[in-house]
């Protein structure tokens, strides 16, 4: 049965939720904890940081993207990264972007 991988960013936490076969290993992990290319690992880290910088340390409540365009661009980038994740991880993993399953990006 494929292992669940969910790409979803939140402030200051590892962006990948891994549903491991051994329940004790189910947790949030960094891209570097998975067998991924350095390029994809760096791209996921940069994507996570793009959200972290929107955190409002002073007031909390005002955290997040200031415009819908920024939010849409962030999620478009995330979906693309999730597809790349599925491509690199192969069929042993089932990758989701947030709540939706994604399919491997066709190689061009």
């Amino acid at each position: 049965m494929p292992q669940l991988v969910r790409l979803q960013a939140d402030y200051f936490i590892e962006p990948i939720f891994l549903g491991a076969e051994d329940f004790d290993d189910t947790d949030y992990v960094n891209a570097s904890d998975l067998p991924l290319s350095p390029g994809l690992t760096e791209a996921i880290d940069a994507w996570q940081q793009a959200l972290d910088i929107t955190f409002d340390h002073q007031f909390g409540r005002n955290s997040g993207f200031k415009t819908d365009e920024e939010r849409v661009a962030f999620h478009t980038r995330g979906l693309d990264l999730a597809r790349r994740l599925q491509s690199e991880l192969g069929s042993e993993y089932e990758v989701y972007y947030e709540r939706e399953p994604v399919f491997a990006q066709a190689s061009s």
Binding site: F12, F23, G60, R61
Partner: protein, 138 residues
């Protein structure tokens, strides 16, 4: 002199212009600071936590329908046990067992986000916490 234990909360409500109708729970932490959980929006607060992590909490055994109740219990009775980077990890006893939750809070006490912490992460944090410190050289 009698000190009203809620006076600080009342002052915080006024200072931060908190709409009490939006407050789900608040508490005073072990370090004396006040934190509160609001219904919030898609980027911060209870709505944000549910939309981002409802499924993760469910993977760990907190059903979606109980998540609000669980988070309120965490705010009211959670015990801070360790740090995970900038996030405080709380241990909360809920439905007969201990759970661990990492919480992101603004400097003013507003709870922005919360996510479950699994055994894998706890093991890593404990290893880090118990690691011997490197002796300093003069």
């Amino acid at each position: 002199m009698r000190v009203d234990p809620d006076q600080d909360w009342i002052e915080l409500v006024e200072r931060e212009r908190i709409n009490l109708a939006d407050v789900v729970a608040w508490t005073r932490m072990a370090d004396g600071s006040l934190v509160w959980l609001e219904r919030g929006n898609q980027d911060a607060g209870l709505r944000h936590i549910i939309s981002r992590h409802e499924r993760d909490f469910a993977e760990f055994g907190i059903p979606a329908g109980e998540l609000s109740e669980f988070l309120i219990e965490m705010v009211r009775n959670g015990e801070p046990v360790m740090m995970q980077g900038t996030r405080q990890v709380y241990r909360v006893f809920y439905r007969g067992q201990d759970w661990h939750v990492a919480v992101t809070v603004g400097d003013n006490g507003f709870i922005v986000g919360a996510n479950p912490v699994g055994q894998r992460k706890l093991r890593q944090l404990l290893r880090k916490q118990n690691a011997p410190t490197r002796p300093t050289t003069s």
